[in-house]
Symmetry: C2
């Protein structure tokens, strides 16, 4: 019988995957499970997106251009202008979700065995993309004590080898919710220029910045034309996760030409998704205001309530809709399984993501969980109460 | 300045890409260009696909399951049953186009440096997927004199090394239009069992078989449960190229489990595409009959007319909507450029794809072009006439 490849074997499964059967089983037992483990917002997709599809009138659902519809790319350039990022539509390639932008960038810039430095904890799927591209993620640890701020540049410097090709920053951060400041990013800028590296920035949570903090993009930095590469997506901006439309953006023309060849191999990004995403560009600030108000209320409630629980440490996130918090336990994975398998409070429980899956340093983040505050405040209230009660009885 | 990767550099561009500027220039000069170079059919997408999108009523465009919507997968299993292929929906993973199915299969089964044997000429994008996966395509040449039949199995045997992991067959074939018989496929079955190889089959043109010939699928073969992997797509079946919905299919559970991990990294296939594709399953035989009648008329016209031109050799294809034909010239690429750059007949010309891009053996297919008979018969008549007149004056 033919064997799987090594990468077919080592490809990581979703870190919450092993919890799923426990959640399903709990539901079968009639227990209500609050899902704080996933990044699927309950926010409504803008009505204009669905309207555009209803009004889309063609006879044949043809391939679009491999780089995406020109009208959408031009619309995207306008959107970026509105957030103070000056781009030509030719700097923008439409991709199948942000995922594909990451894969194409990894492939176009790194050889197998090359290294990319990423602050940890980091979005777990970067591990999968690294396996696909045969590259190595070198983690530089950020700490909950610092609210997951950028690690000192000297920590990055220590990790640089002849194989280092890039630094990847997710800003605002998934999973920590940390928003990197302009000052922090300027330090990364110096680093990549000094060592001749690419700077990949995953900015899919750009619209989710709180407390008056402004997002600063790698595309706003001078002198990084050849280095800076932006990954973007409509998934979170317009609550269009299923639409699978992202973007790969760079002013480095060689890089974009190479990425386009990857795009040509897969012919085109999804047609219907592009129609929905282009229509969503018309969404006004009232949509974002409403979303902002919803999230800020959720964040303020959940983080403040969590910090009131004895032994819980929950830094206040300035962006995205995630938080990594520390619990007064020894092994978060064991605790998360126990929550689903052995605990309920008035017939309800919560599902959380053990944070260890977001670290690549062994044993890092063992007492931490990631939560996504993508539920209504009322549900968050139940969730926090459940967690509080659970911690009272877990292993007591 | 940071450098591109080796694979970023060697990634092949679309082989017709270098002709595109010449076509655009011809159009600017007011010349009408008949595009026989591309596989974008002019056939209408079933109305039910667009209707389903109009009636799709959700508030949030959420991620679907990484393996695709269960209802669609179950519908697909029913579709396969209707074409005599017995599958469980769990053998089916929905992918972003057939392209992604190929990538996932390559990744899950082959290590970098491993080899896959493919009869040439073959679909050029296999080259791109091979570069992405770091695997090597080993071509086994099929010949126009044999109508591009399966090369003798002894030719395959000669190419097998310790690195050989798979054989890939595209059936019906793009670019040749050849339809492999059950007898030919049974020989391939013996080969893969003898050498413990995977058998990848790209069957996206399954519905396009002519002259009463039936399609025989690798999934219909006994004893290949661990070996056979099917790539499929709705692109051609329902003229839904832009929808980007394909499928990766195998009864090998380890392979499917590995592929699912790749699927989880990219979260989900396109939501709207799945809605359209699932609705298209309801399309009745009258849709396919109409499409069939259209293509058979086109094929019969174009192949018969081409064979009447002095020095042209055009085997009658039994499947798909492509043909590779030989012209009485020395260098098809030079000829194709000349057609666009220096020739017109009554203000019209044709764009063809030089077949060399479909071969990986150097200089193979140098006198050949691929054409897609995706235009109406009336346009094909003009196209053949143009080609006939062009051959009269080219390099004379």
């Amino acid at each position: 019988m033919p064997q799987l490849s090594e990468r077919g074997k080592i490809m990581p499964a979703s870190p919450i995957r092993k919890l799923v059967p426990y959640a399903e089983d709990a539901k079968k037992r009639g227990i209500k499970v609050y899902h704080l483990n996933i990044g699927q917002p309950d926010i409504k997709t803008p009505e204009v997106a669905f309207e555009a599809l209803k009004n889309f009138n063609v006879k044949t659902a043809e391939y679009s251009h491999s780089a995406g519809n020109e009208s959408y790319r031009k619309g995207l350039a306008e959107y970026y202008k509105s957030v103070d990022i000056d781009l030509s539509y030719e700097d923008i390639m439409v991709t199948t979700g942000g995922s594909e932008a990451i894969i194409f960038a990894f492939m176009a810039t790194m050889n197998p065995g090359d290294e990319v430095i990423i602050p940890e904890p980091f979005y777990t799927n970067y591990n999968g993309f690294a396996v696909e591209a045969g590259v190595k993620i070198v983690p530089v640890t950020s700490y909950i004590e610092d609210g997951f701020a950028l690690p000192p540049i000297s920590d990055f410097e220590k990790l640089i080898t002849s194989k280092t090709k890039a630094v990847l920053v997710c800003n605002p951060n998934n999973p920590t919710g940390y928003l990197y400041s302009k000052e922090e990013l300027m330090q990364v800028r110096e680093l990549v220029l000094k060592h001749n590296l690419y700077l990949f920035a995953d900015e899919v949570y750009r619209e989710f910045c709180y407390d008056g903090n402004e997002h600063y993009s790698v595309m706003q930095m001078k002198g990084l034309e050849k280095n800076a590469v932006l990954f973007d997506s409509v998934s979170k901006r317009y609550s269009e996760c299923g639409v699978r439309i992202g973007a790969l953006i760079s002013r480095n023309k060689d890089l974009m030409a190479s990425a386009l060849k990857y795009g040509q191999a897969r012919l085109s990004p999804p047609l219907f998704g592009q129609i929905a995403a282009e229509a969503s560009l018309k969404v006004g600030s009232e949509y974002f205001d409403e979303v902002y108000n919803e999230y800020i209320e959720r964040r303020n409630y959940v983080i403040n309530a969590l910090n009131k629980i004895d032994g819980v440490v929950a830094p206040m996130p300035k962006g995205s809709f995630y938080a990594v918090i520390s619990l007064p336990i020894e092994d978060a994975e064991d605790f998360c399984v126990w929550l689903l398998k052995d605990f309920d409070y008035n017939g309800e429980t919560v599902m959380l993501a053990p944070a260890q899956g977001f670290y690549s340093t062994p044993d890092a983040g063992k007492t931490q969980v990631r939560l996504a505050y993508v539920l209504k405040v009322e549900d968050l209230k139940h969730s926090v109460k459940i967690l509080e009660e659970a911690l009272k009885v877990y292993k007591k």
